[in-house]
């Protein structure tokens, strides 16, 4: 059997298409799981802060975020391929996000409590938006829709703000994560 150049080109294009779709699907599955994890953690964090208001807030926030970072790194380290390179990138990304966040939230920005809640959540969602430019529109949809929802909560939730922002953000992450798993 002989194969023409056009046939060979078409077969290679078909292979490229399938490989691209498989890689995107794996990326969505992993990100979906991580997104659900962070959604659950946000709800747990709200529950902890509600149980120990005031002085317990910073401690709860630090414990939950550290747990989230550790679990995210662990999930990525289980990937096949180049786990150590991916782990280093993710640790670097978290370091940059937290470094940038602390610089503005506590150093230069002098943000109040509610503004900090919105700032930190939108900062990480901004990461999703940027990822969407490379890895698929699902990330962009998640980032933009949840950021918009959080701003609506900030403007209109009044005294319900702590509960509303945790519910909208936490449930939003979980729903978006489930959607990514099915995409």
């Amino acid at each position: 059997m002989s194969v023409s150049r056009a046939q060979a080109g078409a077969e290679l294009a078909a292979i490229d298409d399938v490989v691209k779709r498989v890689k995107q699907s794996r990326m969505y599955r992993l990100t979906g799981q991580i997104t659900i994890l962070w959604g659950v953690l946000q709800i747990v964090e709200y529950a902890l802060v509600s149980a120990a208001p005031g002085t317990g807030q910073a401690g709860s926030w630090a414990i939950i975020d550290a747990l989230g970072v550790a679990l995210t790194v662990w999930m990525i380290s289980r990937l096949r391929g180049k786990p150590s390179a991916n782990v280093m990138r993710v640790i670097g990304a978290f370091a940059l996000f937290y470094g940038f966040g602390f610089l503005w939230a506590l150093g230069l920005g002098h943000l109040g409590g509610r503004e900090q809640e919105v700032f930190w959540r939108s900062l990480f969602l901004f990461g999703y938006c940027l990822a969407g430019l490379w890895f698929g529109y699902g990330f962009l949809v998640l980032g933009l829709s949840l950021t918009a929802a959080i701003f609506v909560v900030y403007l209109f939730a009044g005294v319900w703000f702590p509960f509303a922002v945790a519910a909208v953000s936490g449930l939003g992450y979980i729903l978006c994560g489930l959607w990514m798993l099915r995409a």
């Binding site: 060979a8 077969e11 290679l12 078909a14 779709r21 096949r80």
Partner: protein, 96 residues
Amino acid sequence: MTAALDEVIHQPVRLRIMAALCASEGEGLDFTHLKKLTGATDGNLGAHIDHLTKAGYVEATKAFVGRRPRTTVTATAAGRAAFARHVAFLKEIIAG
């Protein structure tokens, strides 16, 4: 590695199946996912997986997830090597 046309993989649906399985880096893919990636019907996809299994290129394992049966297909080492030879053959044709 010697580049060579592989008659089994050359068929369009089987080519897509092998490309998908080799891209999944040994994790394997379930039947539903493969159906979406290849655009084949249930019967058609099943027949092609059987063909690849007989050639020793893939392994299909059946398990229950909850109450639902799930078939997971994985490329064997022989299948990955055959796919690599086939891709090398196609690239040689393009290179002239």
